[in-house]
């Protein structure tokens, strides 16, 4: 009897380990970048390439944050300035200003879009445990565009849901998206 109990205990502990492993297994990689000294991250699987800023062709009557469209090897790609999208004043574009080209799911198809950020930082691994849900702020709908807050090595990264963010209707106000979180 005692032996059997022992066995049962072993099995239980093994199961726990497995379920722990399953729960922890998916470490997600995020490309992190800076906007206004705040570190953000996007799922690295959605990133297609990183390129330097180049002047874009303006789209008439487009929102101010849409810098225009560029020619990416024959494809017309719209470029969004995330700074302006988040309601932060625009930076002077410099040689280190980068455009992250991302693939965004839109319904069944995929769209290719570019986002302008201040600087690219790193590629970070986060496990599920490292990602904390974004604080629910009653008056702030913008948390819908945030997957969570990733923390590692004493830094905090705001993980963006790039699909939702870039598909959001133009009239959705995303200003203060970061300030709402930091407080």
């Amino acid at each position: 009897m005692a032996e059997q109990q022992n066995d049962n205990a072993t099995i239980t502990s093994i199961n726990e380990e497995i379920s722990d492993a399953i729960a922890h297994e998916p470490t997600e990689q995020y490309l992190t970048f800076f906007i206004d000294n705040e570190e953000y991250g996007v799922d690295i699987l959605s990133v297609q390439e990183i390129r330097g800023w180049e002047p874009a062709t303006e789209i008439p009557n487009a929102p101010v944050y849409l810098k225009g469209v560029i020619n990416l090897r024959g494809t017309v790609v719209p470029i969004t300035d995330l700074r302006l999208r988040f309601g932060i004043n625009q930076f002077e574009y410099s040689p280190v200003t980068v455009v992250i080209v991302v693939k965004v799911k839109a319904g069944k198809s995929e769209k290719i879009m570019g986002i302008v950020v201040d600087a690219v930082s790193d590629v970070s691994n986060f496990t599920q445990a490292d990602i904390h849900p974004a604080p629910e702020l009653a008056d702030n709908k913008n948390t819908a565009f945030i997957k969570g807050l990733g923390s590692s090595d004493n830094k905090m990264v705001i993980l963006l849901d790039i699909n939702k963010l870039l598909n959001a209707p133009e009239d959705v106000d995303l200003t203060d998206i970061s300030r709402a979180l930091v407080k």
């Binding site: 062709t57 469209v69 020619n71």
Partner: protein
């Protein structure tokens, strides 16, 4: 030697669809009172090919159904039976039925069409019912199955078959005939290889064999004759009853009971056999795409015939179809391209390669002296590119008859259900149009034709009352005009009832009471969304798809549609479409530091100094007085919210363009180059932008936006007024 026949199924299906189309259009041409024997022959040949093919590939249900159809056709052909409009209808229904059967086989579904049994029964009833004329006219005439023919009760037939050398070249494969014979009963085949030459003298495409076949089957001789029908003139064929020739079976080599009759000669030179087999199979794959007999008037080979089809391999590449064993039911769209177009293309690519190697050589050892040569090379390269581009575009061009061909049946069926007498005339069927445009224009066209049938043409009584011929006419006309393709739907019906349209529009709030509209404007109301004449809805048209949808679909193709109508005399719907959707002749224009592209085709003229022609309108849109018209001015800089060079209107340049059935003048800073641009979609990665129809990439790699005139007019809020025929009074706009 066994060939996997399934690799040819796709080709067979496509060919059958073509055959069915031929049957359908020929049936519709059939006038019950004056039967043209050639038309009947055409239908018969098409049916026969389908029957033969389906038998070969083992689609027995199709084969047996088609056989009954064919039998009746044959009686008509032989003059045994008269053709009536009921027979034509029955045939049309059976064409639909066969098409559905083949579609089911095509989709790999089990074939189960109850209608087939019913139709077959009615055919058989008709056959049994009464062939009034004596049946013994020719051997061909008593092919009917239900008819008790005078076949003696002998057990079978002995056939000596020695085809001419080039039998394979004419597309007649003995193997297929034997297989067809085998479907009648058990078959023994003996090959006579005595005529085979030495291997050095052999022509791989010739047939040196002769066969003695013994068929154990209680079938009339006509059934056997039928198998050899296509080759009887080109071969030595003797068919004798088996019983008369009792003991001659000793050299018979019994066929293996499988579905492939033995064809290998009992010659021990294996290499020769291999050679023959290879030649044979090669022949089979080469001929199969065109296995319709060469005599068939429908199989006009190598003409500039093009076919849009759901899953059609290019004619030159049957192997491509063969490799497609997995029949994915996704719509693989392909086109059949005339061989001349492909040859052109190959020539051009050849030239391009020559130019490329010339330039390459120049680049290896370049000195400034060879600059003229370089420039010359580049000039040549640009010419090659242009020609190549044109040829590639030409491949996508199809004659509009592919769209028009569905209308005879539509008109036939609809006029019958509506009890109207309507004649459909087609003209300009050879006008070529881009495949993409053609696919998208089909539905709007169907809608317009239905509309003309339903609302346009009156009933025979009404027509007689109005003093018109009893039969109404609908004409579909297509032609090219200044780089556009124009399709017209002309009917000689009642025309649009302007009073009623106006009344409806007022009810629906599209027009306010006091508005004075010209006739054209009233006619145009039928294209407005929200305009519905509910009391006219029938099951033919007006089923929720309004004219506004037609217009929207056509506008999406960068085309336009308008209607002219005279009450009591009929209406003309005119559709204008660009030839292609992929490339556009563009005029580059500049506003400030932005470059845009205007479709060259929409530009009417440009005016540099127009001070005296300007009419400022306070609180409204400025107008340009252009001869006897007033044209609203759109300031691109202001509607796009961009900076322009011109601080005052007088400094700019006006481009008069036409779009959405009206003229507007667009104020810009400068005209730049004209060039062909490849249209790229903005919506693919972004979204639709007002006033912009797409984007393109200029020579320097930057993106430039293509302006959409109709969108600009909307964006500028220019009202659709006609400023025509102003009697020169300058005070008009003040």
């Amino acid at each position: 030697m066994s060939i996997d026949l399934s690799q040819f199924h796709q080709v067979f299906f496509e060919e059958s669809y073509e055959g069915l189309d031929v049957m359908e259009s020929a049936l519709l041409n059939l006038q019950p009172d004056s039967v043209d024997p050639e038309t009947i022959n055409e239908i018969f040949r098409a049916a026969h090919s389908i029957k033969g093919g389906s038998g070969t590939f083992g689609f027995n249900d199709v084969a047996s159904f088609t056989h009954v159809v064919e039998t009746l056709l044959d009686e008509i052909r032989g003059g045994v039976r008269n053709i009536t409009s009921e027979t034509v209808d029955l045939f049309l229904r059976s064409v639909d039925c066969i098409r559905r059967m083949i579609q089911q086989h095509d989709a790999g579904e089990p074939c189960d069409i109850p209608e087939a049994q019913e139709l077959k029964a009615s055919f058989e009833a008709m056959l049994a019912g009464g062939s009034s004329a004596p049946a013994e006219e020719t051997a061909e005439d008593d092919k009917s199955v239900s008819e008790e023919s005078s076949t003696p009760a002998r057990k079978g037939w002995k056939i000596y078959f020695k085809p001419e050398l080039d039998v394979l070249r004419t597309g007649n494969d003995p193997l297929r005939m034997f297989r067809e014979l085998e479907s009648l009963g058990s078959l023994r085949v003996t090959a006579d290889t005595s005529a085979l030459p030495l291997i050095s003298a052999i022509d791989p495409e010739a047939c040196y064999l002769a066969w003695t076949l013994e068929l154990d089957a209680d079938v009339p001789q006509s059934d056997v004759d039928e198998v050899f029908e296509w080759v009887v003139d080109e071969s030595d064929l003797k068919i004798t009853p088996l019983a008369l020739d009792g003991g001659s079976t000793e050299q018979g080599e019994p066929s293996t009971s499988g579905s492939t009759p033995t064809e290998e000669p009992s010659d021990d030179t294996t290499r020769l056999t291999e050679g023959l087999t290879a030649a044979d199979s090669e022949q089979q794959s080469a001929e199969n795409p065109n296995s319709q007999p060469a005599e068939s008037a429908t199989a006009t080979e190598q003409t500039a015939e093009l076919k849009p089809a759901e899953a059609k391999p290019a004619v030159a590449k049957p192997a491509a179809a063969a490799s497609k064993t997995e029949k994915a039911k996704t719509e693989v769209s392909s086109i059949r391209v005339g061989i001349d177009k492909v040859d052109d293309l190959i020539n051009m690519v050849g030239e391009l390669v020559i130019t490329q190697s010339m330039l390459g050589e120049l680049g290896l050892d370049f000195t400034i002296e060879s600059l003229p040569k370089l420039l010359e090379g580049i000039e040549q390269l640009s010419q090659n590119t242009r020609e190549l581009q044109e040829s590639v575009m030409r491949i996508r061009m199809l004659p509009i008859s592919f769209t028009f061909s569905r209308f005879p049946r539509l008109v036939h069926d609809l006029s019958r259900t509506m009890g109207k007498k309507i004649e459909l005339k087609l003209s300009g069927e050879q006008t070529e149009l881009d495949k993409t445009v053609m696919e998208k224009i089909g539905d709007p066209l169907v809608h317009l034709v239905r509309n003309s049938l339903d609302h346009g043409i009156e009933t025979p009584e009404d027509r007689i009352k109005a003093g018109k011929p009893e039969t109404g006419t609908i004409t579909l006309n297509a032609f090219h005009q200044s780089g556009n393709i124009v399709i017209q739907i002309i009917d000689d019906g009642a025309g649009l009832n302007k009073a009623r349209i106006l009344e409806k529009a007022k009810q629906n709030g599209l027009v306010s009471e006091g508005d004075m509209l010209t006739d054209d404007q009233i006619n145009d109301l039928i294209f407005r969304p929200g305009f519905s004449t509910a009391d006219q809805i029938s099951d033919i048209s007006g089923r929720g798809v309004g004219m506004d949808v037609v217009r929207r679909n056509i506008n999406e193709l960068n085309g336009s549609v308008e209607v002219e109508s005279t009450e009591g005399e009929g209406s003309v719907f005119t559709i204008r479409l660009p030839l292609t959707l992929a490339i556009l002749d563009g005029q580059l224009i500049r506003v400030g530091n932005h470059t845009y592209i205007l479709p060259l085709i929409s530009i009417v003229e440009s005016i540099q100094s127009f001070q005296g022609m300007l009419h400022r309108v306070v609180g409204g849109c400025d107008l340009l007085r252009l001869r006897d018209e007033y044209v609203p001015i759109i300031q691109l800089a202001s509607i796009f919210n961009i900076e322009s060079d011109a601080k005052d209107m007088d400094d700019g340049l006006l481009v008069v363009v036409e779009g959405d059935n009206m003229k507007v003048a667009i104020l810009i800073d400068d005209l730049e180059a004209q060039q062909q641009v490849v249209i790229k979609s903005l919506e693919e990665n972004y979204k639709k932008v007002d006033g912009v129809s797409g984007a393109t990439i200029l020579g320097d790699g930057t993106v430039s936006l293509i302006l959409d005139i109709a969108g600009l007019i909307k964006l500028a809020g220019v009202q659709r007024y006609e400023y025509k025929s102003v009697s020169g009074g300058d005070d008009y706009a003040a």
